[in-house]
């Protein structure tokens, strides 16, 4: 598991560096390439290793953490987005940010309910 963690850190640093550089140089292709390469390296290592990469405890912790993060995140961005939209007369510069956050909250909920429906069917509704 340790080797995988080290690899993941290296891949993350590589992808972050290349994406950062590509944003500075405005080269979109480089960013996409870096993300694809990073994903592929991680996937190939996962497929070919005999190491136990995730036990039941880690999976459970990850699922619970995701749920908590999703709940807090959706509430936060919905509120912040709403505030920015409401204060459009006082701070018109932040209106776009407000709409972006609000649409993101809607997209998040939509995605969540799609997956909820999928897993509901999968585990026998």
């Amino acid at each position: 598991m340790k080797n995988y963690q080290i690899l993941r850190i290296i891949v993350a640093i590589f992808v972050a560096t290349v994406v950062g550089l590509s944003v500075i140089t405005e080269n979109l292709l480089l960013a996409i390439l870096a993300i694809v390469i990073g994903t592929m390296i991680s996937y190939i290592y996962k497929k070919n290793t005999d190491e136990i990469l995730e036990d039941e405890r880690i999976a459970k912790v990850s699922e619970k953490a995701s749920r908590m993060a999703i709940v807090l995140f959706s509430i936060s961005i919905a509120f912040i987005g709403m505030f920015f939209i409401m204060l459009r007369n006082e701070y018109p510069d932040f209106t776009l940010a407000g709409f972006t956050l609000s649409y993101a909250a809607v997209a998040l909920l939509l995605l969540y309910y799609i997956f909820y429906g999928y897993y509901d069917k999968k585990y026998g509704s």
Binding site: V19, S22, V23, E26, N27, L28, A31, I35, R57, K60, V61, S62, E63, K64, A65, S66, R67, M68, A69, I70, V71, L72, F73, S76, I77, M82, F83, I85, M86, L87, R88, N89, D93, L96, A97, T100, L101, A104, A107, L108, L111, Y112, F115, Y116, Y118, Y119, D120, Y123
Partner: protein, 155 residues
């Protein structure tokens, strides 16, 4: 004489307790919750910060009541109903859906943010949206790793 006065005092405190118990009843809390939602929407439509502030104050009060009764919330909201709010299956579905949603959503907003920032010369008006998405993704990661650390310690 003193016994009669004591009886009157008991009756008065009983009435006060009854009035207080109305504010802690499930129905009242549900109505208050709907009212707060109405205030949020009204504040948003009218663009009035004071309505939203009122909603926040009421929300804090509601949270305080819920926190005080955190051990018997099920009793407050369900009373005699035998409906199960969340069983193990629902919990499993919720957690699996949240994991999948989290992964895809964060990946999509990071990609969208990078694309919008990278195209800042062609579409400068969308630069703020790109930065907002990246900041939101970072915030989401912070929340995830904080809750992960919490559950790691808990289990």
């Amino acid at each position: 004489m003193k016994i009669v006065e004591g009886d009157n005092l008991d009756k008065k405190s009983g009435i006060v307790l009854k009035i207080l118990s109305i504010f802690e009843s499930g129905l009242f809390l549900k109505i208050l919750s709907v009212f707060i939602t109405g205030l949020w929407i009204a504040g948003l439509i009218l663009g009035n910060i004071y309505i939203v502030l009122l909603a926040i104050i009421l929300l804090i009060a509601l949270c305080a009541v819920l926190y005080i009764h955190r051990d018997n919330l099920q009793e407050i909201f369900q009373k005699d109903s035998s409906v199960v709010v969340e069983d193990e299956r629902t919990q499993l579905i919720n957690e699996k859906a949240a994991t999948m949603t989290f992964g895809i959503f964060v990946a999509v907003i990071i990609y969208a943010g990078i694309i919008l920032i990278a195209l800042r010369d062609s579409y400068p008006q969308l630069l703020q949206a790109g930065c907002t998405l990246i900041i939101a993704a970072v915030f989401c990661f912070i929340l995830y790793f904080t809750s992960r650390a919490y559950y790691n310690r808990k289990f």
